[in-house]
């Protein structure tokens, strides 16, 4: 068993989380590691995927209990092909050369071909599964910000202290509020490397600050958050102040009758609904008749609603890896390129998603699903601020955020959940009172057909409680005013 020290000197420099500067691999370092690992294996058509992520998270609870968590995670994977359709993968996190050699040897990857491999066919150069050995072209993207890298060592001390000060100042003399806040900063890189063929490289930074403020009697709460790949755009004190304001305004909620009402949804609330839409853009699902864009039994034989108006004409949705408000790696996990894609234009369905396997099967171009998406007012459509939406609302509710949405109706993406951290009754164009939280039962696909007003889009923070981890792929959405939003019942939670 190995006890060797790390021979890769490039990593020794990054041992300390407090050392300023980049701590994840550069492109050259990643390729050097890839070639070193590949040299240990004699597998035919061997490629390697390397991902490296460094994250610093700081959490403050009750204003003074603080915990910091730092993680440095490296992953090496060896996808390869034998004949067609058979893949072998090895993942490892070791950087030590001797341990790496041991892993590869143990897995039998030093032999070619593997014994007893079934379905092994002679190579067919026309087989589309052999695309890995062809170079690809990728959309240039800018997802890296040095300000975020610097913040990995500076943000926690100063930022947390400032957040705590803002909380103390905003709490008032009677200290009726308590805060929990989190500051997270990360950088990550990814390399998919097939020698002489596909080389996909991406590097990105991201950051998020959230604050949850609750009344000490447990009867009011507020929340706010900001996220940006560029730390310099984050305003932590403003996050805390907004959460304090929301909590203070949520005191003394009244019970209101559930039902279908006009709703003004904050960008966060809209983002939480939109996040559940992405898998329903899969072409395969809709072809099978199980999606919102299926057109089963259409007289013209078409079974997809491409080219039809499916949302309000004021809605446009697209994914752009180079979106200045978010962006994403311009490729699938296997390095298949994926560029800018329009999903909805003026309410009309433009495209559905295909993963590389389905794209080959149906003769389409592979398109990543809109898990990262930008929803905005269609060009030329009038936008409104939240204040304007409220002013134009005779009766309705403002929703800051939802809690734990899950899908219960597959065909319509019907979601259940509850409101939280700020829900207010609007009457005659003004916020009238905070309300006891509601349960909701709503479909974002149906909701986008009941639009009354659209705001200006922003990237939303989701906080750190999502089961998909952090950070989530960017969701950029506007606030919305929606008719007949289904507040299905009362919630006991605060």
């Amino acid at each position: 068993m190995s006890t060797h020290a790390d021979p890769l000197s490039c990593l020794a420099r990054r041992a300390s989380v407090d050392a300023p500067g980049r701590r994840v691999f550069t492109r050259d370092e990643a390729i050097a590691l890839a070639e070193r690992a590949l040299s240990m294996s004699a597998m035919q058509k061997f490629g390697i995927a390397i991902s490296h992520r460094v994250t610093a998270v700081t959490k403050i609870v009750g204003g003074r209990r603080i915990q910091c968590v730092d993680s440095d995670q490296l992953n090496l994977g060896f996808p390869s092909e034998i004949g067609s359709k058979i893949q072998i993968s090895v993942e490892t996190n070791v950087r030590d050369a001797e341990m790496l050699r041991q892993v590869i040897r143990t897995a039998g990857l030093h032999k070619t071909p593997l014994p007893n491999a079934e379905d092994q066919k002679p190579d067919d150069p026309d087989d589309p599964y052999h695309s890995f050995d062809r170079p690809q072209h990728y959309l240039p993207v800018t997802l890296w910000h040095d300000s975020t890298i610097e913040a990995m060592s500076t943000a926690r001390g100063e930022t947390i202290a400032n957040m705590a000060d803002t909380m103390r100042n905003g709490d008032g003399r009677d200290r009726q509020l308590t805060m929990a806040g989190s500051v997270a900063v990360t950088s990550n890189v990814y390399l998919m490397y097939f020698p002489g063929g596909r080389i996909a490289w991406g590097e990105a930074t991201d950051s998020e600050v959230t604050a949850s403020v609750r009344a000490r009697d447990g009867r009011a709460s507020g929340w706010s958050g900001q996220t940006n790949r560029d730390w310099s755009q984050i305003q932590p004190e403003r996050v805390v102040q907004e959460a304090i304001d929301m909590a203070n305004r949520s005191r003394g909620p009244v019970r209101m009758e559930p039902g279908r009402h006009t709703a003004i949804l904050s960008p966060v609330a809209v983002g939480q609904l939109v996040r559940h839409m992405s898998s329903n853009f899969a072409a395969v699902r809709n072809r099978a008749g199980g999606g919102p864009f299926s057109h089963v039994g259409a007289p013209n034989g078409r079974n997809l609603r491409l080219g039809e108006r499916v949302f309000d004409e004021r809605i446009t949705m697209f994914t752009d890896p180079n979106d200045p408000l978010g962006g994403d790696f311009p490729f699938f996990t296997d390095g298949t390129p994926s560029g800018r894609q329009s999903w909805i234009e003026g309410g009309v369905l433009q495209a559905l998603s295909y993963d590389p396997y389905d794209a080959l099967k149906y003769g389409k171009t592979a398109i990543r699903d809109p898990e990262s998406v930008h929803v905005m007012a269609a060009p030329g459509a009038k936008t409104a601020t939240v204040a304007e939406m409220i002013a134009n609302c005779e009766r309705g509710f403002y929703v800051n955020r939802f809690s734990n949405l899950i899908e219960v109706d597959q065909n319509s993406t019907g979601l259940i959940g509850s409101t939280r951290d700020g829900c207010f009754y609007i009457k005659d164009g003004k916020i009238n009172s905070p309300v006891v939280n509601f349960r909701i039962f709503e479909s974002p696909f149906l909701m986008f057909n009941r639009i009354m007003a659209v705001g200006t889009s922003e990237r939303v923070a989701f906080g750190f409680g999502d089961v998909h981890g952090w950070p989530l792929r960017p969701i950029i959405v506007p606030p919305l005013m929606v008719r007949d939003f289904n507040f299905s019942g009362m919630s006991d939670a605060v």
């Binding site: 072998i88 993968s89 993942e91 490892t92 959940g417 981890g469």
Partner: protein, 571 residues
């Protein structure tokens, strides 16, 4: 007879019982190669892998034991040495307290019908230090001496920095513990060959042909073998060889098309997650019990699928459904870190405002009892938790009232007046752990049990006593709000019951509930035969981690609950 021989003996016996030769099984099995896990983890958004692991796919066919493809790479002596280095570096740098976990974990997952295999192992560390009131945690992979020393220096510097503004943090003393411990297993799954794993898995799949219906058991199991070293600046140093099994056994009736509401899927509780070995799949009566469940499943399909009027109705929840509900509401509400607001900006808080508001409160009928259990083959069993505390079985709810919470060494002081009042020492119960040593440990009891009533009714008797209501079998999901104060239970299968008889199967309905009210409406708790043990994965902590635990619960009768439709009405 070694592990592999036992497995071979059993599968040969199994093959002959279903009229096939072992060779036929092996010929039919297609051990497809594992697909890469990299794909799941990659993009600029989410963290590339929540659990750093070596994942190795194995050749299509092999008679070699699984361990030959993924042997332990790290010697326990080396791990102990690394732990000592980390603690020494941290204390020299100025830590007032430090503890470290170093883990070498192997996992093996066989998919349904032996067609998909994953082998992997996590090789990492998690170092936690405290300076004054500041706490810093550094976690990573590939723990070398240099890396651990650097992590210690970094963590102490961070903790010292935040100590300037952090409140004092009291950590209750704990006994110094040393030694080694190992989970007891009869058949080490890593000493079984892939062929024999596939043979057993295919044995379940072959029941489809045996029964002659379109009801296909799908089985997979995640086996974990881990060496974990814990050390602390108090002087503790322990090594544990942990073995865990998380099997999943599902019945799937009717061919599936998207939106086909006649499709029934039901997870069986016959083999729950546990700390045990391959022997759990070798039970001689297991196939008979599966066939019995398949028979029940087929009878469910014969009921017409329909709807009922929404509104308040009496409900019987089977053990799976009640356990899922309790596991997502009451259990998180009694985690002390939730009660104190530590998670309020992550997963949420508790539907009790504070520990004082919870302790002593009557939640339900006097027969209601919920306990954290340890020992035997209960899931998550360890000799020492990830704070070096020896775990113990203890009640959370006794005679319908809340009597305890799950605490750690740093927050158990919040329970001091309650413990003192009851003559208990102010110490945590040893339920603090993590499944990945590179992540922060958190309150996470491995196994919880809601007690059945010794002479309580069977499920059949509970149904017969219903006048007009809903019978819920299993739970697809339980949606809860941020406090667990209420939510919705989505059944796997549900039936309308009138005058004690099932009249139709109900599709697309859910049970909306308010947790406290539902427990007050609980009128009857079922007998031992109604108890089922199911996995209850839960999320929490920062970074967020998914942890497994089991919930054992009996069937119950609820006087009234709100039944709602899952079908969207287009307005």
């Amino acid at each position: 007879m070694n592990s592999s021989h036992r497995a071979v003996e059993h599968v040969s016996s199994l093959a002959s019982s279903i009229g096939q030769s072992r060779r036929t099984f092996l010929t039919r099995s297609s051990l497809a190669l594992a697909t890469g896990l990299i794909g799941r983890s990659l993009h600029a958004g989410t963290s590339p892998t929540r659990h750093m692991h070596h994942v190795i796919s194995i050749p299509v066919r092999s008679r070699r034991p699984v361990a030959s493809f993924a042997p332990p790479l790290i010697d326990p002596d080396h791990m102990r040495n690394m732990a000592r280095i980390a603690i020494e570096a941290a204390t020299r740098a100025g830590a007032h307290y430090a503890d470290v976990r170093i883990g070498d974990q192997r996992t093996f997952v066989n998919g349904s019908l032996g067609t998909t295999w994953r082998l992997g192992f996590t090789h990492g560390y998690g170092l936690r230090v405290q300076v004054g009131g500041g706490v810093a945690f550094v976690g990573g992979t590939d723990p070398t001496a240099d890396r651990l020393v650097a992590a210690a220096h970094s963590a102490v510097a961070t903790a010292r920095g935040i100590a300037r503004i952090a409140a004092p943090l009291l950590r209750v003393p704990a006994p110094v513990v040393t030694g080694e411990w190992m989970t007891s297993v009869e058949v080490d799954p890593f000493e079984v060959s892939p062929d024999d794993h596939a043979f057993v898995a295919n044995g379940f799949g072959a029941l489809k042909g045996y029964y002659g219906r379109v009801v296909a058991p799908a089985e997979s199991c995640k086996w974990t073998s881990e060496t974990r070293v814990f050390a602390s600046s108090d002087g503790s140093l322990v090594t544990q060889q942990l073995r865990r099994a998380v099997p999943e056994l599902w019945l799937d009736a009717t061919p599936a098309t998207f939106g086909d509401r006649a499709r029934l899927i039901h997870q069986l509780s016959l083999v729950p997650p546990c700390n045990a070995g391959f022997e759990i799949l070798l039970g001689t009566d297991l196939h008979a019990r599966i066939i019995e469940a398949m028979h029940d499943m087929e009878s469910w399909r014969t009921y017409a699928g329909g709807s009922i009027e929404v509104g308040r109705k009496e409900v019987v929840l089977d053990g799976q459904a009640f356990g899922a509900l309790i596991g997502k509401t009451v259990v998180p509400a009694l985690m002390l870190n939730n009660l104190l607001g530590d998670e309020q900006d992550v997963t949420g808080t508790s539907f009790f405002a504070s520990p004082d508001a919870a302790l002593g409160q009557q939640l339900g009928v006097p027969q209601l009892a919920l306990s954290v259990v340890t020992g035997g083959t209960h899931f998550g069993r360890m000799q020492w938790d990830d704070e070096g505390i020896v775990p113990r079985t203890f009640p959370l709810i006794d005679r319908g009232a809340i009597v305890d919470c799950v605490a750690s060494r740093t927050d158990v002081q919040a329970l001091s007046s309650w413990y003192t009042q009851r003559g208990q020492p102010v110490v945590p119960a040893g339920a603090f752990s993590t499944e990945d040593v590179s992540l922060v440990p958190r309150p996470s009891p491995g196994a919880l049990v809601v007690e059945s009533v010794p002479a309580g009714p069977s499920l059949t008797e509970l149904v017969k006593a219903m006048k007009d209501g809903l019978l819920v079998r299993g739970a697809w999901d339980v949606q809860v709000d941020q406090q667990g104060a209420g939510g919705s239970l989505i059944p796997q299968v549900a039936f309308e019951v009138r005058d004690g008889r099932i009249t139709q199967r109900i599709d697309d309905f859910r049970v909306d509930f308010s947790t406290k009210k539902l427990l007050k409406e609980l009128t009857v708790i079922g007998g031992p035969m109604t108890s089922e043990t199911m996995p209850n994965p839960h999320w929490g902590g920062l970074p967020l981690q998914n942890m497994m635990q089991t919930m054992t619960a009996p069937a119950v009768h609820i006087r009234e609950a709100n039944v709602a439709s899952n079908k969207m009405v287009v307005s």
